[in-house]
């Protein structure tokens, strides 16, 4: 069918966009930019979920797409924006050490992710099966971002990007988890971000900064 072929092509392009954003996140310094990129990731997820819903004819995926739109494109970026505004951190940027090296590690991770996902993609029957490698790559790149960053907010953005990758993996491999589970995950995510919001204020109250190098006193000596 030509239409399904076209949809598969568009999905691949969207997946590539997702991967590109993950790389962009690795190199961005400004917190505000990162939040925008996170929202874009959410938007791509929303589009691709809609396309999958359309091509597979499963109506419940539309709900999951709507959930993505509300949570990942609107609610979470909005909460994060408000948070950094209230913390006065909107112009914050952080020094990044050695972007080229990080990028190279990122490339290796992508290759590794594709290798790992290869046997699973072969078994899948979904229209999106070829994008599973990209989903895994997005997860690993988000992980890399969490490791290389030193600011509390950036780590949280990395965490949310990882969740985006997980969601994408679920849609690529299985057309998404059952609705109950998706709702549960979304609820956990929302509560998590709220708790972190409270947490940021506590950290800043104690340390006068959101820089995590203050949080390194507990270790074995």
């Amino acid at each position: 069918m030509p239409t399904s072929h076209l949809i598969a092509q568009v999905l691949n392009v969207l997946a590539a966009g997702l991967l590109l954003i993950s790389f962009a996140m690795l190199s961005r310094r400004r917190t505000q930019r990162l939040i925008t990129l996170l929202a874009w990731q959410g938007a791509i997820l929303f589009l691709s979920t809609c396309l999958v819903a359309h091509s597979s004819g499963l109506s419940e995926i539309y709900y999951s797409a709507a959930l993505t739109l509300m949570l990942k494109v609107i609610a979470l970026p909005w909460i994060l924006h408000r948070l950094i505004y209230q913390l006065g951190a909107q112009w914050d940027s952080e020094p990044l050490v050695n972007i080229p090296a990080t990028m190279l590690v990122g490339l290796v991770l992508v290759i590794f992710a594709f290798g790992l996902a290869q046997p699973i993609s072969m078994l899948a029957t979904t229209i999106t099966r070829h994008t599973l490698g990209i989903a895994l790559a997005v997860i690993l790149l988000a992980f890399l971002m969490m490791i290389t960053r030193r600011k509390a907010i950036t780590q949280v953005i990395g965490f949310l990007a990882m969740e985006n990758g997980l969601f994408f993996a679920a849609t690529s491999a299985t057309y998404g988890m059952p609705m109950v589970i998706e709702l549960g995950i979304a609820l956990d995510l929302l509560v998590g971000v709220f708790i972190l919001g409270i947490f940021f204020f506590q950290i800043r109250e104690q340390f006068d900064s959101l820089d995590l190098h203050h949080l390194e006193s507990l270790k074995e000596d």
């Binding site: 078994l123 057309y175 589970i181 998590g192 708790i195 947490f199 104690q206 949080l215 006193s217 507990l218």
Partner: protein, 483 residues
């Protein structure tokens, strides 16, 4: 019906305490709600013993011998900890470390945490299990940072990020599991994540996918079990949070996380065979036991010390589950029970000990016997019990694990013996001067509730001396289920 109550009561308690948690009677209300949960849990336990496994609520909840025993244990330790927490938190308030507002948060989150753990234990849905585990993490993050000190904030941040990343891995594992199951069970009827359905078709699930899924699930839930090298959050969270929270984290949450791993292991074994999951569990277990034991030497903080001891013991239990077979599983389940009872009672006494001394540093805690014989003896007996001295129950389970290991995997015994020996020397040499010796510290402003300590230790002692046949039969049934 019982299940609904078991899950509903902590939730109700959480809402009530969110409303009234700052009042004087909040601690009593907390204990009362925990008692109510314990009573309905006992009814559930009786029912399962009498009528066998049950599957209710559109197959969303499943109770068998394996999880009902953990439900009983969780509700029991939850109740005794609530009893302990009543005077303990009063003293903390007296010392000015917490305000009524924070006590409200504390009480409400305590109940929510209990509810999340019970949901994780009772659900039949692997996805819901993940959601409940994440909820259990989220409800305790703010408890760990309750004192708002720099160290406690750092501990809570570490706890959140490490467990959050860990549990994200577990979600990926769950997605892979669902993917494999969907090909056999199909999307219709939403049965592809129900454990009972997965268990029925586990032989037909694609081994390559399940093998990969297990790696992610073990790393993910293993982070919450505190398996080395993913254990970094555990000693910090145990040391910096309020002591009742340390007691339930160590005594209950680690068990529940391990329960999740074992449920996954049963499924994966059916598909890829026993070798891969068994060896992975044994490796992680041994590494945690040995590493945990050696780190004990470097501790100065009493709660950190026993946090590392929990890592060591969870390692031993994980190793025993990795061995597999009826005897090792029996021993592992027994060890889960006695460790949970002993470790929570140790944290109770350690909490009061540091309150009397005014510090958690072990160098500052001296002569506990002189200040309060109950605290001193509680800590001494608890330490002897956790070190696996006969006649306590820990000895029985460790002995069973060791002999099984010698028979089936002789290479592992030296590691186990080293871990046990090092832990013994480390803990005993620290506890001895804390209990004996001279001190002039003033007595506590409220009399501590140490009844739970001695009830726990008496139970551990009983399990070591004589195990009721009904209980043994029950453990055996649970061990058979795990395979």
């Amino acid at each position: 019906m019982e299940i609904l109550l078991v899950l509903g009561l902590p939730l109700l308690g959480s809402v009530l305490l969110a409303l009234f948690g700052a009042r004087r009677f909040a601690a009593e209300l907390n204990a009362a709600m925990s008692l109510a949960t314990l009573i309905v849990s006992s009814l559930l336990v009786l029912r399962v013993i009498r009528h066998g496994p049950m599957l209710v609520g559109h197959e969303q909840f499943f109770v068998d011998s394996f999880n009902v025993f953990l439900v009983g244990l969780t509700a029991f330790v939850g109740f005794t900890t609530a009893l302990f927490s009543r005077p303990y938190m009063r003293i903390e308030e007296h010392l000015g470390r917490v305000t009524p507002g924070r006590l409200r948060l504390y009480h409400s989150m305590y109940q929510l945490f209990m509810g999340a753990m019970l949901l994780a234990l009772l659900t039949n849905n692997m996805g819901l299990l993940w959601v409940a585990m994440e909820a259990a993490t989220l409800s305790t993050v703010l408890l760990v940072s309750l004192y708002r000190t720099r160290a406690s904030l750092e501990a809570a941040w570490k706890y959140f990020i490490l467990c959050g990343v860990g549990i994200a891995q577990a979600l990926f594992g769950t997605i892979l599991l669902y993917f494999a199951a969907e090909q056999t069970l199909g999307r219709e009827g939403m049965t592809a994540l129900l454990w009972t359905h997965l268990n029925a078709v586990k032989g037909q699930l694609e081994p390559r996918v399940l093998g990969l899924a297990f790696v992610f699930l073990l790393v993910g839930y293993g982070t919450k079990v505190g398996l080395a090298p993913l254990h970094n959050w555990l000693p910090d969270a145990h040391a910096e949070g309020p002591t009742p929270v340390s007691a339930v984290l160590s005594g209950l949450l680690l068990n529940v996380a391990l329960y999740a791993v074992i449920r996954c292991k049963v499924l994966v074994e059916g598909s890829v065979g026993r070798s891969l999951p068994g060896h992975m569990l044994m490796t992680f277990g041994l590494l945690s036991a040995v590493l945990g034991a050696f780190f004990l030497w470097r501790q100065r903080d009493i709660k950190r010390l026993f946090g590392y001891s929990s890592i060591e013991h969870m390692g031993i239990i994980t190793f025993a589950f990795g061995l597999g077979g009826p005897v090792a599983n029996f021993a592992a389940l027994l060890h889960m029970t006695v460790h949970s009872l002993t470790k929570s009672s140790i944290f109770f006494t350690a909490g009061h000990a540091s309150q009397t001394a005014g510090t958690q540093q072990m160098d500052g805690i001296r002569g506990l016997l002189g200040i309060s014989p109950t605290i001193g003896w509680g800590l001494m007996l608890g330490s002897i019990a956790i070190l696996g001295m006969p006649p306590f129950g820990v000895f029985a389970s460790e002995f069973l694990i060791l002999t099984t290991a010698m028979r089936e995997h002789p290479w592992s015994t030296p590691f186990l013996l080293i871990a046990l020996g090092v832990a013994f020397a480390a803990i005993f040499s620290r506890v001895q001067p804390m209990v004996f010796g001279e001190s002039d510290a003033p007595p506590l402003p409220h009399s501590p509730a140490l009844l739970p300590v001695f009830v726990h230790l008496a139970m551990v002692l009983t399990l070591g001396l004589y195990m009721p046949p009904a209980l043994a039969e029950w453990y055996r049934a649970a061990a058979r289920l795990i395979g």
